[in-house]
Each structure stands twice: as C-alpha cells, then as structure tokens.
C-alpha cells in the first residue's frame, strides 16, 4: 500500500466505512433487481457527492478539493470492493478531460456541477465492441456532432458526454440529437450505444494533441482501481472461506496445494496493487503517465482475471450460485477487462510506447 498522508488515510477510512455499512453488495442486488437501465442508486450517489468524492481531482477554484489522483483511487478501490454501482469513475474522468482540455469558460461552466454531483459525466469514445481509439468516424461540422458510440458506460444517467471525434474531444450535453440504445451486459450495469445526430458540441480545444490519450490513460488507471478493489475482495472472501470450510475432516486452508495457490494469488495481488498505485502516482507527479497507465490496466486485467476465476473455483459449487456474491465479481471483471483496453490491446500499446 502506498504511503498515505493523514488526509488520504481519513478519506480511505471514510470510504471503507461507508461502502461497508451503507453500500454492501446487497445494495447492488437491489439495483439489479430494480431492472432500471440507469443501474445506480441516486441517493447513494448523492451521498458520495456530499462527502466530496465527485470533486477529488477538481481544482478548489472550481468547487473540488484537489486532493489528487491517489486519493480518488483510494475511494474507487473501496467502492470496487462492494461492487457499488455509481457513475463516480465516469464523472471523474469527464471532469479530468475538462481540467486538461477545457477553456476557462468551460471549466467554470461544468466543473462545479460535476464536483457537486449535480451533473453526471461520461466518456464516449469507442465505436466498436473492442477498445480502439484509432478508429473514430464521429465528426463535427458547424458545431454539430454526428456518429454512434458503442457501449458507453453509465450512459443512462449521464448529463454530459465527452465525445471523441475525428478532430478531437467535444462536450455534448444530453438533449436534442442524443439518443440511447440500451446494451444489457452481464455485469447488469448501465451501458448503451449513444447516437449523436447533429447534437451541439463544444470542443475541448486545450490539452494539445495528446488530449484523447491523456484522458484515456486516466480512464484506464481509475478503472484499474475499481478492479483492484474487486480483486482484493475476492481474495479476502476466498481466504476466509477456505479457513472455514471443512472437507476430509480438515479445514480446506490446511491443504498445501491450496495454500500455495493462495500464496501465488497474494503475490499477484501485490503486483497489481503496485501497478495501480504506480499509475495514480504517475498522474499526481505528471511523469511517465502513458507507460504507467498501460502497466496498471494490463496488470489489473491479468490479475483480476485469474483472481475472479480462482475465487469461483475455490468456493466449489457454492461459487456457482447466484445467491453467493462471488459470481458478480467474475461478471463485472470481464466487462472492465474489455473496457479502455483489453490485454492484447495494451500489450500492443506497450510495445509501441517502447518503440518496438
């Protein structure tokens, strides 16, 4: 665990306490049972905003706390542990896009609302089922944007879309010329194809040529934080289960083969945590972000993939039941794994960044 300052420790403890007490997995079950395409609890999201979590990376002058990325990551990790359904990550990334590329006017218009939770934001980048920001056809002409974005996270609740077009990123508000087609995925969260048909679009003109990549790196790292929380939770739950389940007159935890498996997973988890925290620290220091983001998401993909599979396996038959939570982690894991860079995408990107 990265060395935290006092503020960060308080923030993490608060997030942990809130997630454990106010937003355990039973809350996610309620969201799922509601069948609402929006797939999150507005009340819970309101709580998060009140606690300042929507403004962690937003400058104080625009209503945020400017606590930095490591702080934001700590909160997201805690929420990942209990599978809290919310648009917090997407809203944070949308805000980051404006912080990086927005004019003073755009910042003043949107950041305070995102910081207060009054507005929900999300990223609309990919146009196919596989993440590939080099393939964008959506275009803007005369301030009007047209094109369809695939599998936009948290699209149903979003008031503001950060949309990639052939000539950069644009802000598009929900409204005329924006329509949604729900895509129900195995994680039972909000996803939709979003079609922009001549909707008004406001360009993020700052941030330079790398703006899209920079925003995506932040999305990769923050997604990896959610995955880290999930991996940690699957590990802890599985360890607890093995310490309690008796077969052959012995608790499973006494079997050496299982001890070694858990030791291997523990090592993997340590690697994942370092990679994810390394990504957050790179963001806070502003140095080596692209490489760090690639490592963070690639390791998150690798370790959560294994962890979620092993979690089900080591629970035996009970792990296959809907009544038991572990399957939810498996399903959410694959969706996040495929978002903002699959393992093969990230490996190719890593090699490109390294010049080979």
């Amino acid at each position: 665990m990265a060395v935290l300052n006092e503020e960060q420790e308080m923030l993490r403890d608060m997030a942990r306490e809130w997630a454990t007490n106010e937003s355990p997995v039973t809350e996610f079950r309620k969201v799922r049972a509601s069948g609402e395409p929006e797939a999150f609890d507005r009340g819970a999201f309101g709580n998060m905003a009140e606690m300042g979590w929507t403004g962690v990376i937003i400058p104080e002058e625009h209503g945020g706390s400017d606590f930095g990325w490591l702080s934001a990551g700590l909160v997201v990790e805690e929420l990942g542990k209990t599978l809290t359904a919310s648009p917090l990550i997407q809203t944070t990334i949308a805000a980051a896009a404006i912080v990086l590329g927005g004019s003073d006017e755009q910042k003043a218009k949107y950041l305070p609302k995102l910081a207060s939770g009054e507005m929900i934001g999300t990223l609309a980048i990919d146009e196919g089922a596989r993440h590939d920001p080099s393939k964008i056809a959506t275009s803007v002409s005369g301030g009007k944007i047209s094109g369809t974005k695939a599998f936009v996270h948290e699209a149903h609740g979003a008031d503001l879309f950060v949309v990639a077009s052939t000539d950069g990123l644009y802000l598009v508000e929900k409204g005329d010329g924006v329509s949604l087609s729900t895509r129900k995925l195995t994680d039972q969260r909000s996803h939709a194809d979003v079609t922009f048909d001549g909707a008004s679009a406001d360009k993020l003109a700052g941030g330079g040529d790398s703006l899209l990549d920079d925003v995506l790196d932040r999305a990769r790292i923050l997604t990896a934080c959610e995955m880290l929380g999930m991996a940690q939770q699957v590990f802890d739950t599985t360890l607890d289960y093995l310490k309690q389940r008796v077969q052959f007159n012995q608790v499973l935890a006494t079997f050496q083969s299982l001890q070694h498996r858990m030791a291997d997973l523990f090592g993997d988890l340590a690697m994942m945590r370092s990679a994810v925290e390394g990504g957050l620290q790179a963001l806070d220091s502003g140095f080596g972000v692209a490489r760090a983001a690639t490592i963070a998401k690639a390791e998150a993909n690798r370790v959560l993939h294994t962890m979620s599979r092993e979690g089900v396996q080591l629970h035996g038959g009970i792990g296959m039941t809907d009544e038991y939570d572990i399957g939810f982690y498996l399903k959410r894991a694959r969706v996040l794994e495929a978002s903002f860079g699959s393992t093969s995408y990230l490996k190719n990107r890593f090699a490109k960044l390294g010049g080979y």
Partner: protein
C-alpha cells in the same frame, strides 16, 4: 501412417456407411439440421417438437443413440469402427445425437457393469430410447469433494429401504424421473457403509428446490428425502459396494462429460474462425492484432494436442478394457482448455461478447456468455480439478499422503 486399405479393411464398413446414409435420408428431418443444443443437458427439457420427437424415436429404435451398447438391452450393438462411421455420417448430415444425459453418459455404462439382469432389462432400454431422465444424487452440503462423508441414510426395513437426508447441486433434479443415489447403509465405516440406490423422483417424500446459478439458469437443485420408501430391488450391487460403483460411475462422468469427445462437440467452430469474423484482418487475411494472433495460435496448438491426447487415451483404455484413471487427466486438461476457450472467445468479441439479454446481441453471442459462465462449473463438478490432481498424484503416480 496408415494406408487407405488399413483404414477401411472390409467392404462391410462400406455397406454399413451406406446403411447409415440411407437411414439418415429416411429419418433425419431436414429442419433440424445444425440444431443440436449443446447446453440442452443442463437447461432442461424444452418442449419437444414433432420433428425432434420423430428423430429421437428413430435413433432410439435403432439403438444408435447408444451405439456400442449391447443390442439385447436396446443399444446399437455396433463395434467401434461402425460407431465412428455413424458419428462421421451424422456430422456430415448436420445431424446430432438426440439421446444423451446422465443416463447415457454415466449411469448406463455403470449399470451394464454392476447391475443385475433384471435391473439392466428394466432400466437400460428406456435410456437407449431417450425416454427417462436420470439425475445424480451424490453431493451433500458437507460431502462435496469429500464425497464419502455423505450422511443421507437408507435404513433396512425388511422389504424396503427408508431414505432420509439432503442432497445438493442435483443437476436437472427438477426434471428427472429417477435418481441414482449414494446412501449410507452403515455408520461404522466411512467408505464401506455406502450403497448405490435407485430412487424414483416421484416417490412420496422427495422434494426438490431449484437453485439459481450465476449464468442465470436454474438447472440444479437441493433435493430432500423424508421417509422415502425405496424397494429393495433398487439396490445396485451389494450393500456396502456403493463406493466402488459410485467411483466407477465418476470415471465415466469424467471421460464423457469433461474429456475429449463431448468437449469437442460442445465447442463447434474453431477459435480462429470466430476471430476472423470479429477481428480486423490485414491485407493478407491475417489477424491484424499481433498479440491476439499469437494467443489464438497458442491456444489452438494446445487444443489440438489435447484432442490427440483424448483420442489416444480413449483408444488405450478401451484396448485395456474400459475407463481408467486416465479419465482424471483428461478431465483436468479438457475442462481447463474449455474454459480458456470460452474466455478467449469473449475477449475476441470485446463487449459484444458479454451481452446478458436484449437488443444488439445475436442468439449465439448470448448463448456464448451463458456457456462461459456455466463452464466455470466444469472444473468443480464430477470431482474438481484439485481432486483430479490428488487422484493423479496418489493413484497414478503413487505419491503418498503426507504423514
């Protein structure tokens, strides 16, 4: 390398091939072409259509759903060569074997080996005709991997047994007509106190409660037995022989359910075929994503070598007179590769491969997601991978328990 003449030793095989073709031409309904549902066994009976019924009855009457089983009990009585030809011709015609389930895969072969003449005459023919559904009453809440710890009791009441206890994870319990069950007839000996008993699911005192799975289906149940009367003639083998019989059945389960044959059938298209549909190709028609191409090749090489292993092992154990411990190796390898394959397919399809329901997903995409999730069970049931490792280490390699 075998020559052509070695592969087709006599005209009799040609004649048999002709017979099969004729049978297919006469009996296989065109509209069922390519329609076999790989998950039918776990999803329960969907109302049988008229053509499906006809096809099942035609195959059942010939005994060709269970091609190598003895004719006298309703099997096909074919030799291995003929059975292979039958399979080939079915595949060529896009036909599937409509007769399956636990009766075919596990219970039938075991009963043929251990059952009394009366039991075989009673139970095997309906299995061959696909008329009864069997379920497996092995696992209990505290007897999963440690199966011999089972506590469901069968008390000797003179002319019948009185069965009390709870089973769990009973696949298809809610649809089954009958259950082959491991029960405790003696408390004083963990292994030798177990007997193999056949129970009618509609006997008074049997209750099933379906459990929902992570894949959204509810194909398995908790099964409760309360003072269930079971006639004495439903005991297979001797009292106390249940562990031996039960383990043999598990070998059939492992070979069949999780080994080469059914796995290959379940899988259908190759990963690379699917990849070529979903991934970008370069000008030469190769997969443009270098990493993905490498991983697909890596998988298909190992999958190819697994299929050869499965074939070799099956041939060797048949030559040696039946299933063997090698079934543990097959199960361990085949189920792992099957899971890898499912994971790889959803990765290839990206988020399109993770649909749960509703618009924008094809039927096969949605089925793929469910199969991926259900497939997580293959390394758990029928003896988990960890238990197979223990069996291989101890029984095959002779490695000892730590003292």
């Amino acid at each position: 390398m075998a020559t052509q003449t070695e592969l087709q030793p006599a005209d009799t095989t040609d004649a048999f091939r002709e017979e099969v073709r004729q049978f297919l031409a006469d009996n296989f309904p065109e509209e069922l072409k390519g329609k076999g549902n790989a998950l039918a066994g776990v999803e329960g009976p969907t109302a049988e259509t008229e053509p499906q019924r006809k096809w099942r009855e035609a195959m059942g009457a010939r005994g060709w759903g269970t091609p190598t089983w003895p004719k006298e009990y309703g099997g096909g009585g074919l030799n291995r060569k003929q059975a292979a030809i039958l399979n080939e011709e079915l595949a060529k015609a896009g036909a599937y074997n409509p007769i399956g389930g636990m009766g075919v895969m596990m219970f039938g072969p075991t009963l043929l080996e251990y059952g009394s003449e009366e039991q075989k005459k009673e139970h095997i023919p309906p299995i061959c005709r696909g008329e009864v559904r069997w379920c497996q009453g092995y696992s209990e809440p505290n007897a999963g991997s440690d199966l011999a710890n089972l506590q469901t009791t069968a008390e000797d009441k003179g002319d019948h047994y009185l069965v009390n206890g709870q089973k769990t994870w009973t696949s298809g319990g809610q649809w089954a007509d009958k259950c082959f069950c491991l029960v405790r007839t003696d408390r004083s000996d963990k292994h030798r106190g177990i007997s193999f008993l056949l129970i009618d699911m509609d006997s008074p005192g049997v209750e099933v409660r379906p459990i929902q799975m992570i894949s959204g289906m509810s194909p398995f149940c908790e099964t409760f037995f309360t003072d269930v009367k079971v006639p004495k003639e439903n005991l297979v083998g001797e009292e106390g022989q249940g562990w031996t019989i039960g383990k043999r059945l598990l070998q059939h389960e492992r070979t069949n359910l999780s080994g080469g044959g059914s796995m290959a059938r379940l899988m259908g298209q190759s990963v690379s075929d699917v990849a070529k549909k979903y991934l970008e190709l370069d000008d030469g028609g190769e997969i443009a994503d270098k990493v993905m191409r490498d991983r697909i090749a890596d998988f298909e090489i190992r999958w190819g070598s697994f299929l050869m292993t499965a074939r070799r092992a099956t041939e060797e154990s048949k030559a040696a007179g039946g299933v063997s411990e090698i079934s543990s190796v097959l199960k361990k390898l085949g189920t792992k590769l099957g899971q890898e394959r499912a994971e790889m397919l959803i990765e290839i399809m990206g988020l399109q491969g993770l649909g749960w329901e509703g618009e924008g997903f094809s039927e096969s995409e949605l089925a793929g997601v469910r199969a991926w999730l259900f497939g997580k069970a293959t390394t758990i049931y029928g003896g988990s991978t960890e238990i197979q490792n223990n069996i291989i280490a101890k029984r095959v390699l002779g490695m000892l328990d730590h003292q």
